[in-house]
Each structure stands twice: as C-alpha cells, then as structure tokens.
Amino acid sequence: MVRHIELTCEWIAQQNWHTRFREYVNSFPRFKRPWNLLALTLGLGFTTQYGEYLRDSAGDILSGSSRQISRSPLISDLSILLNYPQYTQKKMVRLESSDGNIFALRGTMVELKATTMVPMANAQIEVQPEGQVEKNIIKLTVHKRRNLSGRFQVKTAGTYRFVINKLDGTIIEDSTRYNIRLEEDRPPQIKMTFPTSDVELRDPKGLWIEWKTSDDFGLSNVFFQLQNPNKPLRTVPLTSGRTRKELNGRYHFNPIEYELTAGQSVSIYIEALDNDRVSGPKSAQTMHRQITIFDPNKTKDEIHQTQRQLVTQIVELLADELVSHSTLSQDEIRQILNQQEQILKKLKGLDENISLLLENVELIDSELTQTLQAFFNAQKNLKRIENARKKVLKNYHINQGRGLENLVRDQQIFSISKLETNLIYLEDLLNTERVARLKEQATSMLQRQNDMRALLESFTNSKDPRTKELLEKRMDEIQESIVELFKRMGELQKSLPTEYRNREAMKLNEMANHFKDFQKALQEGRFEDAKQHLEEIEKSLESMVEAVIKMHEEPTSERYTALNQALDTLGRDLNDIKTKQQNISENTKKLLQEYRKTALEKSGGSEKGLKEKLMHLIEEVLRKVEKSSAIPGMNQTLLEQLFKLRQYTVDIRLLVESTNYSDALELAQNAKGIFPQILRHIQKIPASRDQKLFGKVIKKANEKLKEFIQLLEELFAPPSKLLPPKTNERIGQSADHQKSLGIDLQKLRQALRQIDQEAPIMNDEQRRNLEQAQRAMNQANMFLEQKNLAKANRQQRQALEHLQNLQQKLSQTPGQGMPMPFAMNNPSFGRQPSGFNPSEKTDVEIPKAIQEQETAAFRKALMEAAKQKAPKDYEDSVREYYRDLVE
C-alpha cells in the first residue's frame, strides 16, 4: 500500500497539471464559459468541515497527492433521505434517484446511498461549507465494493462531493459537486390588532391588548413587554408551553399592576419567539405603542387653557368693538366697514373655536361640563351677534352705504353689551375652576406637609440618616409643589401693573426663608426649631391659599348668590305656574269628560246600542277598504292612500271600542277627506272591470263613513248648548285662570331675561321651551274662551309639557344646569320641591310618542297591537296618543 502511494506520488509529480487541467476542462463544453470555470475553480478551493458525527477524527483517509478527478460521473443511483429536525414536525423525505443536490432546513439529517461506477476500497464525501476554506470529511460505509452509504447533518449551505479509493489505491474525486442549500425557517410574524396607535388610557381599569402571531413551524413563546423609561423592561409571558403555528390572544393591561400614575408614558409591545431549537429561537416584535395614562389634571389644564384663549379672544373682540365704536365717524366709513368685516371674521373664528372646544371634550367632570355649558351659551349669544352683524353688512350693500353709521352703532351697542355680560360671566366661571383646582392642589400639599411632620417626628426620635435623607427629598418635592401652587395662584392673580411693592413682604420670600431655616435647623439638629419652621411654612401656605381663594370666592359668590336667590325665587314661581297649569288642565279634562258624558246622554240611545251601531258602520268601512285593496290594477299612489285610509279606520274602531266618541268623530272627519282623493285617482286608471269595482267599493265605504260621522255629529252639540250654565261659567273661570297664568309666565320670562343680562345662563333650548309654553298657554286660553274644551286641554297639556321640560333642563346637571360662579348653593331653579314625584303625572305618556309619531313603523306597530287586542293600559296610551293628534 505504501509503495502504491509512493508510485502514485511520483506519477503526479511527473504530470503537466496545467495542460491536463485544460484538456480536462475542454472535454466539458459547459466549463468553457468563464463563470462556470470560476465556479469550478472556487469549488476546487473549498474545504469541508461538517458532517460531524461521521467525520473521521483521524482525518482524511484519502488524503495524499495521488488524486484523480473522474472524467465521467462516479456515482449513480444516488438516493437521499432527509430527516428534518423534530421541532419542525416535518415528515422525512426520501429522494430516490436524486440529482444529489440537497435543499433542507438546518439541522436536517441527510442519509445518502449510492452506487459507484468502479469498485472501491473505501469512500468519503467532502463537504465544503459556504465561505469557508476547510472542508468536512464524512466517511462513508462501503458495501460490496460498489455500494456506499453515509449520513451527515446539514448545518450550513455549501457543496459536497464523493471521493473514492479504488481497489488499486487510486483516489478519484467525483467531478460533480452537489449543492447544499438551506431551507429557511422564517421568524414569526406578529401584529398588535389593538391598539393600533398610541393610546391615552382613560379607563382606570386598563385596556385589552389584542395580538395575532404565526410561524412557519411553530411558536414557542409570546411575551408582553413594557418599557418604562429609566426602569428595567417588564416581561409577562402570554402563552403556555404548547407549540402552535398560529396564535391569537389578548392581554389585559392594568396600569395599577405596573404602578403607573397619571401622566406617565410607557412603551408596550408583544414579542413572539419561534420554536427553532437548532439555530435558536427567532423573535419578532409588534410595533411599539406608547401608552400614556390619562392625567385629568393635564386634560383640565389643556381645556382650561383653551377656555382662557377663548376668553382672550372675546376680550379682543370687545376691544375691537369698543375702539371701533368710539372712533365712528362719517369720514371713516370705509374703514369702519372694513373693521366690521374683520370683527365678523373674528366672530366666526370664535364660534368655530368654541365648537371645537365643546367637541373635543369627552371625559371631564361635572364642574368643567358646567363651564362648557356656559361657553355653549356664550357661543349662542355670539352667534346672535354674528347674525346681527351679517344683517348690518347686508343692509349696507342693499342701501349702498346709506345709514351705515346708525346701523353699525345700534348693532355695536347690542354687541358690546352682550360681549361684556358674557365676558364677566365666563371669567368668573374660569376663576371658579381655578379656585377649585387651587384648593385641590393645596389640600394635597398640606397632606404632604403632614407626612413630612410625621417623618420629622420619626427622625427626632430615631436620628436615622435614611429618614433624614427622605425628609430632605420630601422637602424638595414640597418645594416643587409649592412652585406649582404658586403657578395656580398666579393664574388667579391678575398681572396689572401697580406701583412699587416691597419684595421683602412677598410671601414667597418669607416661605423661602422658612425653607432655608428649616434646612439649617435640620442640619444643626435643632428639631424643635425645624418643626416650628415647618409649621410656619404650613401656616403661610394655608393663609396664602385662603387669602387667594377668599379674594375670588367672596365677592364673586356674593354677586352670584344674589343672582342665585333671584333664580331660586323664579324657580319657585316656575314650579308654582306649573302646578297651577296642571290644576287648570285637570279641571279642563274633567269638564271635557262631563261634556262627553252629557253628549252621550243627550243622544237618547243606550250607549251599548250606539256603540254597536258605530262598530258595525266602521267595520263595514274597514271591510270595504280591505276589499278594495285586494283589487288588482292599482298604482302606487292609490295603494298608499288606501293604506292611510285603512290606518284611520282601524284607529277609529279602536276609539269607538274605548268609547272615545269625540276623538272618533275627529278622526273620522279627517278620514273623510281622503275619499275624494282616492276617487280622483281611480278615475285616472284605465277603465276596466276592476276599475269599476274599485270605484263602487270605495263609494260604499265613503257612504258608511258619512253615516258614521252623521251619527256622531248628532251626538255632539257645542258645549254651550249641551252643558248647564254653571258648567259654562266654570269654563269661563278656567279661561280667566289660564289667562292670568299666561301673564304670570310672561312676567317670569321678563325676569329671566333680566337675569340673563347679568349672567348668560339661558340657552336657546330653554328659551324655546319658555316661548312654546307661553304660546300654548295663550292658545289654551283662546280655546277655552271659544268653549272648545278638547283643543284647550290639548294646548294645556302641551304648555305643561314645555314647562316640565324647561324645569328639567334648568335643573339637570351636569351639562344642562346653570353654572354659577362660587354660588354658595347651586341654584335650585327648576328643582322639584320635596314631595313632588315626577312619575305622578296625570297625563298618559306613550314612550317616545313625540319623537316617533311620524314614523310609519311605529304606527304600524300600534295598529298591529290594536288588532291583537292590546292590554288595557296600552289601549289607554293609544287613545291618549290619538287624542293628542286630533284634538
């Protein structure tokens, strides 16, 4: 063997390898291409180092210089078995008659089997990892001199080739290099499905974070990660050990668990790891989301800032108006016009800004809501100014500028007065807010002072340096808070210039001195002195805050308390008017019932007989209408008319059933009006048998309805004829009461208008309610005078409803109430006196009847209910509902 190797070496030394190589290359046309040649050259240079478990530790058994490269393929019947890593859960793949190239995941065990063209003594494969010089030698097992087998694990991409040792000792390298390509194990994919953007967390309970993740082979872990600046990363596992390819989940993020306080911001994300145990798990992260814990104070600050800006804008507007007003002259008319247009622009801008403020505020406390309500009222007032201004400018253009001076002057007087009132009121409200917040801040500050006192006490006893350190730290914190407190006080103190004031007398100075003395006393161990200074700080703070609060609260509250008292009185008056209206309405209702009863009695017939007759007639009408509906050839309009008629008929039947004849009469008279329309439409459709039949049926229905109406009209004569003089007298009295009540309401409106001049507390809705109540009362009075009890009663109930609405709107908080700066008590205007139960309404109300009365669906639902013999209460409701409609 040794001899053989020696001979081989000699032979190799004698060879002209350069020529031989060229000859060899030329024998393979494909290698003529330069890049192929390059590849080959590179391939020749590679070494292998992989295939660890098969690697011959003794080294290359076929090493030596007597190697030949086979001219023809050395290997045939190559079969490859790919045994994938377990974590992938992929089944093994056998590749019979393989081309030798391997495409597998890292860690895949490759088993090779092949047959050689020549008999061999032993064999190996040389694996050349990509980008490395050294190659790995994997010893193969040789069976029956021609079969070889072996296995290696794929760890990196590269190439491999077979090398055999022939029986004569010749070492032949397979000319073919096989590729090893790595199949990619991709990292997981992950997405946070909620939240999809940064969040300001308002719910103190937290929020659900939702996520979706997937991986090509499997996920090992999912984590919730929270990064709080300057703190270690917090990680929460979100999955159990089970491996899945896809996972959806959600995690409840509770800020309390992470000790997050208002205003703090943290970054959160979800991280997923795959189950790659060969190369190590790969991870993926969702987008990072910033979560900021809602800070109500900050929000309030922002809102307050906006409000402040709005007030500033109103001040600017007022200034413009005042200055423009004062310089008004004929000579400057063009300039005035310009100014007016500028003011209009500002007004529009202000209106938009107020709207924005009202829209943007979502989570605010009632106190703020009240102030916003005031801004809302102010907005309405400004709108009125704006409209008036527009009118002036329009008139100017129409009149070609004539009389502009007077127009503008009048408009400005109106505008200035409104702006002045609104401004003072809004400013007072803002101050109310500021004071409330100052109080909050001061309370928390004094609490801290108390804690500090306890610390000082503890330090006095223990002399523990840590306590001292803590004390000093607290002192710093308190100093910071004091600065904040001063800021708040600064907001309240106006910065108008004054003459020189002694700086030495400033509270801040005194406080700073106490701080200095406190620290000095603490350093020198004079604890009693330290305590005293601490007390002085506390006292100073208290007295300052108290002084500032008093400064604003006292005069403002006195001013508004007077208004409040006026409102209280008006509130009582309103309640009184409402109660009286209720009584008058009740009285009218009784009179109406009496009238109906009398009418029935006067008709002579028994009620039962009358009812049967009426029922018979209306059912006849209904039958005819339904019959006509079934006739073919009708157009859409006719169908609609018929449906309407059917609705009326059903309703009338319902009213007759419930013995409400007067309403039935009213409704029947309305229904009668539909017949001529139907008949006109019938004539328009092409003449046919159906058309004739249709006309005939409808005419009959009309006749029956007329008969029905006639019967009822005979029953009802005017109250003056039907009722005894005494009852007629009572109706007259009722009319007088109604009139006097209308006057009372008028007075109340005037008083409210006056209050509105001082504090713009009324909004349009409230004004509207007042106006409508007034109108309904006047109408009721008119109908009572005409002895039309039914209509009068309806108006009365409407008036009552408006009064109730008004009362409710005025007393509702938050939002709809009347914000009153520093009022000692909130105005009780509109509040129900004790003992009054709003549910004790005498009117029968149909839920949402007002809002839905026009909707067909609702009417249909009512009719269906009527058909199905509705419960008694429901019938009453329906009856009342229709009474409202027809009376």
Binding site: N502, D517, E554
Partner: protein, 596 residues
C-alpha cells in the same frame, strides 16, 4: 398700650403695668409703680438708688432691667434679667418678662440712630424709616409738646422707638401672640414707655407709618401727662385729633370713610355711647363700629379744642395727672362730668357740617402674613358697586394691552356712580396718563385723592403727573405723602434725584441718592432666633448711668458683662474706673463694679 391699625383705625386696647408680679414688693414695687404711670425718669432714679444703695437682689435686677428695657437698651436689660434668673434658679423670670426677653431676638441685629429726644432701634433697610421717623418725631415733639404742654425727654432719657422687621417681632416685644397681631392687624404699639412699630417693609405697599408713629407718641404724651389716668376713649380721641399736628394743624385726621360713618350715625341717631367704648374699643362689635367710635372721639376732642380753646386738653391732662379723677377735673374745668360732656358733644355733632362721601371705602393696610392682598382690597372695594363690572372689564382689556378699549370701560365705570374706589381712580388715571390725556388724568387723580388722601398709588401717580407738568414742588409734596406710606419705593428717590439735580440742591440731592441706594438694596433674610449670649465665664455687674468707655469699647450702664471677653488692659481700666467693687450680691458670688 396697644394701638391697632386696621383700615387706619386706631384702637386703644388696654393699658397694663410693665409688671404686676413685682409691683407690690416694697421699693422695687415703687419702680414698677412709676413705670405703670409712665414716669420713667422717676423709675430710673429709684432703680439706680436701689442698685447702688441696697444689697443686690434678683428683684432689684429685674426692676433695673425693666427700666433699661423701657429706654430701649435691650441687651443690657436682658443681661440683668438673666443674672436675676441665675441668682434665683427656681423662678421663671424669662417667662414672666417676655417683654424684656422678646426684643432681644432682634437686639443683636439692631442698629441705632438717635436725635436729641429719640433713640430708634432698627434693622437693615429700615434705616430709611428710622431717619425719616426721627425727623417726624422731632417735629412732633416740639409741636405736640407745645400743644399738650408736655416734653417727655427733657431729663436726659430719650424716647425709645423700636422698628421690628415683622409681626413676630412686635409679638415678642409686647407679649401678644402672633395670631392676635395678625387677626387684629396691629402694626404699632405704645407700651413700656416705648414706641414700637412693624416696619412698612413687611407690608406690600407700606402703611401710613408717620402718622402712626406720631399717634403712638401722643399716647405716650397723654399717658405720661395724665399718669395714665384717663379713659381709653379720651386717650384715643386725643391721639387721633392731634396725630396730624406734627406737620400742620391738628384735627385733620378724620378720613372720609369715618366722616361718612359718623354723618350717617348722626342722621340715624345711632351713635356709640362712651360707656360702650369702655373698657376697650376693641370690644366693639365690628370694624365699622370701631371706626365710628374713633370718629366720635375725634369729634369730642375737636369740640373741646374748638369751643374751649387749644389749651383745654393740656389743662385736662395736667389736672387728671394730678388728681386722677376725670369727672372731678371736668367739673372743675368745664362744669360738667363725662355724661355732660357726652350730651354737649352730641349737641355739637348735630350742628357740625360733614363732608359726605357715600360709598367711600376705608383705606386698608395690607399685611404680609395672610392678610388682605392688594387684589383682595380692590375686590372688596368694588363689591356691590355699579362700576365693578366696567372696572373689571377695563382690567381685562388692560391685561391684553388694549388700552384704548380699557380706557372706555374705565370711563364707563367712572361715570357710572359717584362713589369711586381708589383703585378705579388709579387705574383710570394711569391709563389716561398713558394715552396722554393728562388734564383728565389730573382731574381723576385729584378726585380720587379727595376721598383717599393718603393713597400711596394715587400719590405716586399724582407725583408723576406733576413732574411731567414741571410742577416740582407739587411732585415733591406727593412724593412725601408716598414716602410716608412706603418709603422703600426707589422711584420716589429717583424722581427726587431728578428734581434736586434740576434745582441744584446738593444737600438734598446727596440725601436722595443715599436713600435711593438703600431702597435699591436688598434686605437679607435674618434668622431672628438668637438671644444674646449669656454663657458668661466670668460675669460682672457694672452699675452706673450712661455709657462707660473702656478703650475703644463702650458699655451702657447698668448691665452684666462677661469679663473674660475683656483684654487684660481693658480689665485693668475697668477696675481703675470703678469707684466701688464687691464680690457678692445677696450671697451670690458676683463681681460688681460701680461707676460714677
């Protein structure tokens, strides 16, 4: 004697002897008795005699300390008191004599300035007040001395004045609590034969310190002259009536607010009786009734002065000082008693003409500690007024620098009602000046000053307008008013510098420049928690009168000194100068030196 100045109303609360504890004990009691009758000179003589002729006891030391304290020699008084305490360790003299201990928290920092009749203790920037006060007090000394026929500093004992930097100082010096001082708004006290005031520096805009200090001085004169035997209402009436006499005629101190109150009370016949003012005017139910009471007693003196001649008050005080019975003196001098006086005075009021100013508000002192801030004052003044709305609107516009518009709103406020608060006059005037409408500004300020003649802001504005118009003397007059309110405003001295430069008045220019430097300097915070050092290694009691000079050092006698602080040659000089020397004081080992 405590003088409360709230809304420039002075109340006479009570008059107590310096020490009731030792008042009755023999000759020592005599010292306190004299002190209680404001006869400091007699008390001093008696104390000196006791100290030099008797065995030195703690009681004698305390009495001597009280006399030293009354003269404003606080450290000396404290050393004597401390020695007394050391000699009788079971006693609690420090607690019993807070009025002697209290000023010593400041005594180490006190600087002194003296005139012929006054000696003022002050700290730092208060030198401005002290210098101005000396001038005011010397004027008052002569004018009021002549009017009331009493010159209290003619026996080589000067009237001591202490200016305390804060209310705590006044509290410590008077034995009142800080709470009481803050709640009542006390700013000045005349007690223990001393005048004590809180520095205007501790108030934001100052206060009428000049009239206040004169007012206190009159209390001292009255107490001294009457041997403290007249009722409080008369005391206050005299002080109030004569407080303006230092720079003009007496009887000019009735403020518009008080006059309005009085006029209304006369109209409604709702005057407060003299009985109701006794024993203390502080017990009147409200500030308003206190103000009314002051106005009443002012007019009592006015009536006496006008009807019975300027000399009547001096006569009355002299006689009461002699006899101690006011009714007797009244009967002798005027043929009626107090009740008759009240009747006659009521009759006078019905004929007196009043300058009415409905709606006028009291002028207020704005204190440092938890009292009303200037803004508070404004709001209070504006409360319930027709012009409030427009004044506020003006302020809002002014804040936005919309001066023209603000002017319109202030103008509305001004014309809305006749009762115009000082703040409105000031703001309106200032903005008129800004808009160069000087004539109108002048009118507005003049109207404001009619009702609020001492208003600091209005005076400053008036001075500015006068200066702009070239009326220097008028400007100086207004600046003087302002100075007597808040002398720390550097602007006062800047304007004066301008004027005196213009007038080439070198002397006054130099003074104005000096004051300007002081006003512009910052007052460093002092820690007033230290008492003088009494850890003596070798205590020596120095007895004598006046000052003792040892080398370059000077010692006010009597006092206790730590002899170990003296250099050997100083010690030698001390011993050489002493005319007497002893080792024991009532069995207590002590070096006692007596000097001529």
């Amino acid at each position: 004697m405590i003088i409360l100045r709230s809304s420039f109303i002075c109340l006479f609360l009570y008059l107590s002897s310096p020490s009731s504890i030792l008042a009755g004990s023999g000759e020592v009691g005599g010292v306190f008795k004299e002190l209680s009758q404001w006869q400091l000179e007699k008390a001093e003589k008696l104390a000196f005699r006791l100290l030099t002729e008797k065995v030195i006891t703690p009681n004698i030391l305390v009495a001597t300390a009280a006399v030293q304290s009354a003269q404003g020699f606080h450290q000396e008084a404290y050393s004597l008191l401390h020695l007394a305490q050391t000699m009788s360790p079971d006693s609690e003299l420090h607690l019993e004599f807070p009025n002697i201990v209290g000023p010593n928290y400041y005594a180490v920092d006190f600087q002194v300035i003296e005139s012929k009749h006054f000696r003022i203790n002050f700290i730092g920037k208060d030198q401005i007040v002290a210098e101005l006060a000396l001038d005011v007090l010397e004027k008052a000394y002569h004018r009021l001395g002549n009017l009331l026929d009493v010159f209290p500093a003619e026996q080589k004992i000067k009237i001591a004045v202490d200016i305390y930097p804060n209310p705590i100082g006044l509290a410590r010096a008077t034995g009142l609590s800080v709470g009481e001082i803050r709640a009542s708004g006390t700013i000045a006290v005349c007690k223990y034969h001393r005048l004590m005031i809180i520095s205007p520096l501790s108030t934001k805009g100052g206060y009428g310190w000049a009239d206040t200090i004169v007012h206190e001085f009159i209390h001292l004169l009255v107490s001294k002259k009457s041997h403290n035997n007249i009722p409080i209402w008369l005391h206050e009436g005299i002080a109030k009536f004569f407080e303006t006499a230092w720079n003009g005629a007496p009887g000019r101190g009735l403020q518009s607010y008080s006059e309005e109150l009085l006029a209304a009370a006369v109209e409604k016949n709702e005057l407060i009786s003299f009985d109701a003012m006794h024993p203390s005017m502080a017990k009147l139910p409200s500030q308003e009734s206190a103000a009314l009471a002051f106005a009443e007693v002012f007019t009592v003196i006015e009536w006496l002065y006008k009807v019975h001649g300027p000399q009547i008050i001096a006569q009355l005080l002299t006689e009461v000082g002699k006899h101690g019975d006011l009714n007797r003196v009244l009967t002798e001098l005027l043929t009626f008693k107090v009740s008759g006086l009240e009747k006659a005075w009521r009759k006078y009021l019905k004929t007196r003409s009043f300058q009415r100013s409905p709606g006028v508000q009291p002028e207020k002192v704005i204190f440092q500690n938890g009292d009303r801030t200037p803004q508070k004052q404004e709001k209070y003044e504006l409360k319930h007024r027709g012009n409030e709305k427009y004044t506020r609107l003006g302020a809002l516009l002014e804040e936005q620098k919309r001066y023209k518009a603000a002017l319109i709103e202030y103008g509305k406020a001004w014309t809305q009602t006749q009762s115009r608060p000082s703040i409105l006059a000031y703001r309106y005037g200032r903005i008129l000046l800004r808009e160069k409408r000087i004539s109108l500004a002048e009118q507005v300020i003049a109207t404001g000053l009619l009702n609020y003649p001492r208003n600091y802001d209005l005076r400053m504005l008036a001075a500015r307008i006068s200066k702009r118009r070239g009326k220097n003397s008028e400007a100086l007059k207004n600046l003087s008013y302002a100075e007597r309110q808040n002398p720390f405003n550097p602007q006062i001295y800047r304007t004066k510098v301008d004027i005196f430069t213009e007038e080439k008045n070198k002397k006054l220019l130099a003074k104005a420049k000096r004051f300007l430097r002081m006003a512009e300097s910052s007052q460093n915070h002092n820690d007033f928690s230290r008492l003088p050092n009494t850890a003596w290694q070798e205590a020596g009691l120095l007895i004598g009168k006046g000052k003792l000079k040892i080398g370059k050092k000077s010692f006010r006698l009597p006092q206790v000194l730590d002899l170990s602080n003296l250099a050997p040659n100083e010690r030698m000089q001390l011993e050489q100068k002493a005319i007497n020397f002893q080792l024991l004081a009532e069995g207590y080992p002590l070096l006692v030196y007596q000097f001529q």
